[in-house]
């Protein structure tokens, strides 16, 4: 995963609460291998009707060029399916701005280079209003911890661990490999002190 510090793009509001993981990617698409790409399934049932026709009133259908999304509280709540993040990332989304995120979703996002930027609800409402259903130029600065949409800037909250991970594009497996000795020592000590913690049979 490549690290990044700044992104300039087009922001679009999806002015809804609780855009959950089942909406981000309906379960029926989750057996697809990642290499095939998940972009077509992003918000599938919101974007397309039962006959597969694009719904003209869906903001993302009017502005498919958007790569920063703004939404109301509790974005990505629900399942641990990382496919919800794959759908966003493969579609081209780089950041989501919302007052709150599902915890597992946010962790998955960071693991795939997608920024879950927490911004107070009143600021999000101002952004939604300012955008008025259209897109605007937007800029994300990970080091400064700011997002600016249509010229007005706001600070976002992000766990410092996650910020560094996004900037450096760290791979956890590589990082953990440096601690192999400590892990082995911990395992052996645990097994000696708490033998019951290993499954019988």
């Amino acid at each position: 995963m490549a690290g990044w510090t700044q992104h300039e793009g087009r922001a679009l509001a999806l002015p809804m609460e609780s855009i959950d993981t089942d909406q981000l990617i309906p379960a029926r698409f989750m057996s697809v291998p990642r290499r095939d790409g998940y972009g077509p399934y992003l918000l599938h049932d919101m974007r397309f009707d039962e006959d597969g026709q694009a719904r003209p009133d869906m903001p993302l259908n009017r502005h498919p060029e958007a790569n920063i999304l703004i939404a109301r509280r509790n974005f990505g709540s629900g399942s641990s399916r990382e496919a919800a993040v794959y759908a966003l990332v493969d579609y081209g989304i780089r950041a989501v701005i919302a007052p709150s995120f599902g915890d597992i979703f946010a962790a998955n996002a960071v693991n795939n280079g997608l920024l879950p930027a927490r911004v107070p609800a009143d600021v999000v409402e101002e952004m939604i209003e300012a955008l008025g259903g259209e897109t605007a130029d937007a800029r994300v600065d990970l080091e400064a911890g700011t997002v600016s949409v249509g010229g007005s800037a706001a600070a976002f909250e992000l766990d410092p661990v996650w910020r560094m991970k996004l900037i450096n594009g760290w791979d956890d497996i590589d990082m953990t490999a440096q601690h192999a000795k400590e892990i082995t020592a911990f395992r052996d000590a645990r097994r000696a002190a708490h033998p019951w913690a290993w499954p019988r049979g």
């Binding site: 809804m16 609460e17 609780s18 959950d20 993981t21 089942d22 909406q23 309906p26 379960a27 029926r28 989750m30 057996s31 291998p33 990642r34 049932d45 039962e50 109301r72 509280r73 509790n74 709540s77 629900g78 399942s79 641990s80 399916r81 990382e82 496919a83 993040v85 709150s100 995120f101 599902g102 915890d103 597992i104 962790a107 998955n108 693991n111 795939n112 409402e125 766990d159 410092p160 661990v161 560094m164 956890d172 497996i173 953990t176 490999a177 601690h179 400590e182 892990i183 911990f186 395992r187 645990r190 708490h194 033998p195 019951w196 913690a197 290993w198 499954p199 019988r200 049979g201």
Partner: protein, 465 residues
């Protein structure tokens, strides 16, 4: 050492190291994988990495498990199940496959087999891993990148969540269950109300719950946004664990019991947040909208968006439109098209007993599916004659799996149909595109089956439990 909460004790006991930025590297005692873990296996496969600790990794077929006719698997379902079997074989993992007499939903099977124990850290690539916290285990769901990390290292990087204690005072009335407790606190605090927190459930109501009830409560922690749920282990827990196939016995059990006795929050430990709800005030509860926080007592009316502040009103209007409900009408009496009993939330033997107590000698007015949480739950239910109660009522008694909770195996609710469901998510499209889900306890689902509508189970239980 200063006073610690149960969360702190579990965390400290698994912390291999902590970085300056606050991230802990934790040891994982049990890693449970399922068909949906295919992304994670592909990730370690691309790097040519083995599974670090195959003896601590267990594979379970549940999400795509057909609940009927397992002799003729086709298409994606066949491919997903075969992929899991292939990955288990390639990495030397113990597999609970479709033909295993112990097969079931991973969160039912883990505790049932004694894989989940007090004091363990349990990870699984599924948000309802919070279920296992009912035994006093540190258990939380993770995404595919993290699953790959656990496979490759048997460890996980995490920041310690904040500590929240949720105390349930009083006593639960007849026909009121752990499901109702959960839906009530989620309605009160919001679907993101416990975000960033680990919840320790406490108080007389929680102490009075069976293991099954505690699992339901912890299972739904995630629906209120919590990272995980915990119940301090006690005699109920120890009795449940003893004698299970993978649980310790003999000297190992004695050693374990000494360790487990310490798994309580110290009396003077402080929590970042304390919440109290009154068990006496809780009535059988149903959801009316498309988020688990949109729940009300069965005697309430459908909310009228006109009476809500603007932000909330828009959300409620959209939810009611999807659900096909009329503001101001009573929830009770809303006709349902079908029912579902099962899932990791409410697919255990006690859940089936309660539903059967309502259905015994009665006929369901609508079709429905009963899918036990595991093959062993199914066997037990059949030994008790519960299957006959369900089938004589007109419901379908099928094999174990995630089934209609998430519909990946083809058990779907048709567009526009209304389903009374003992599951965990009433999200749009969760049970199938356009499906209308009302969450409730298994007893309440049984009441909906008998009456063909959302109903208060209490009159139907009179003289039966």
């Amino acid at each position: 050492m200063s006073a610690r909460t149960l969360l702190d004790k579990l965390w400290d006991g698994h912390e291999i190291l902590r970085r300056d930025d606050g991230a802990s590297l934790l040891w994982v005692d049990r890693h449970l994988v399922h068909e949906g873990s295919h992304h994670a296996f592909a990730k370690i496969g691309e790097r040519g990495l083995p599974v670090a600790q195959p003896e601590l990794t267990f594979a379970v077929a549940d999400h795509y498990a057909p609940t009927r006719d397992r002799d003729h698997l086709e298409g994606d379902i066949a491919r997903m199940i075969r992929t899991l079997e292939d990955n288990a074989a390639r990495h030397g993992l113990r597999l609970f496959g479709l033909r295993d007499p112990r097969q079931g939903i991973v969160h039912v099977l883990g505790p049932e087999q004694g894989l989940t124990l007090p004091g363990l850290l349990v990870n699984c690539g599924d948000s309802h891993t919070s279920t296992h916290g009912a035994l006093g285990a540190l258990a939380f769901g993770i995404g595919a990148t993290e699953v790959a990390h656990v496979l490759a290292t048997q460890t996980i990087w995490q920041r310690r969540p904040k500590r929240m204690r949720l105390t349930v005072t009083g006593t639960l009335g007849e026909g009121v269950s752990a499901k109702d407790v959960a839906l009530n606190w989620i309605a009160k605090l919001g679907a993101d109300g416990a975000r960033g927190h680990a919840i320790e459930y406490a108080g007389p109501v929680v102490r009075g719950l069976s293991m099954e009830g505690r699992m339901t409560l912890c299972n739904l922690s995630i629906e209120g946004g919590a990272r995980l749920g915990l119940v301090a282990p006690d005699e109920v827990t120890f009795e449940y664990v003893k004698g299970r196939p993978f649980a310790p016995e003999g000297a190992a059990l004695e050693r374990a019991m000494e360790d487990w006795a310490a798994l309580v929050s110290d009396a003077d430990a402080t929590f970042d947040r304390e919440e109290v709800i009154d068990g006496d005030e809780i009535a059988p509860t149903v959801t009316w909208g498309t988020s688990p926080e949109e729940a009300l007592p069965i005697g309430a009316s459908v909310p009228d968006p006109a009476n809500l502040p603007e932000g909330r009103a828009a959300r409620a209007r959209e939810a009611l439109d999807y659900m096909g409900l009329t503001p101001g009408r009573t929830l009770e009496g809303t006709p349902v098209d079908q029912v579902f009993i099962g899932s990791c939330t409410n697919g255990r033997i006690e859940d089936l007993r309660l539903a059967a107590a309502v259905l015994k000698g009665r006929k369901a007015r609508v079709p429905g599916l009963v899918s036990p949480g595991s093959a062993l739950v199914k066997k037990q239910a059949e030994a008790e004659g519960l299957d006959r109660i369900f089938t004589e009522a007109g419901l379908d008694w099928v094999e174990a799996g995630c089934s209609m909770c998430v519909g990946m195996n083809g058990d779907l609710v048709a567009p526009g149909k209304r389903c009374a469901s003992s599951t965990n998510r009433n999200f749009k499209g969760r049970q199938g595109r356009g499906a209308r889900t009302h969450l409730m306890s298994p007893a309440m689902v049984a009441a909906a089956a008998v009456t063909g509508a959302l109903s208060d189970v209490r009159p139907l239980l009179k003289g039966r439990v």
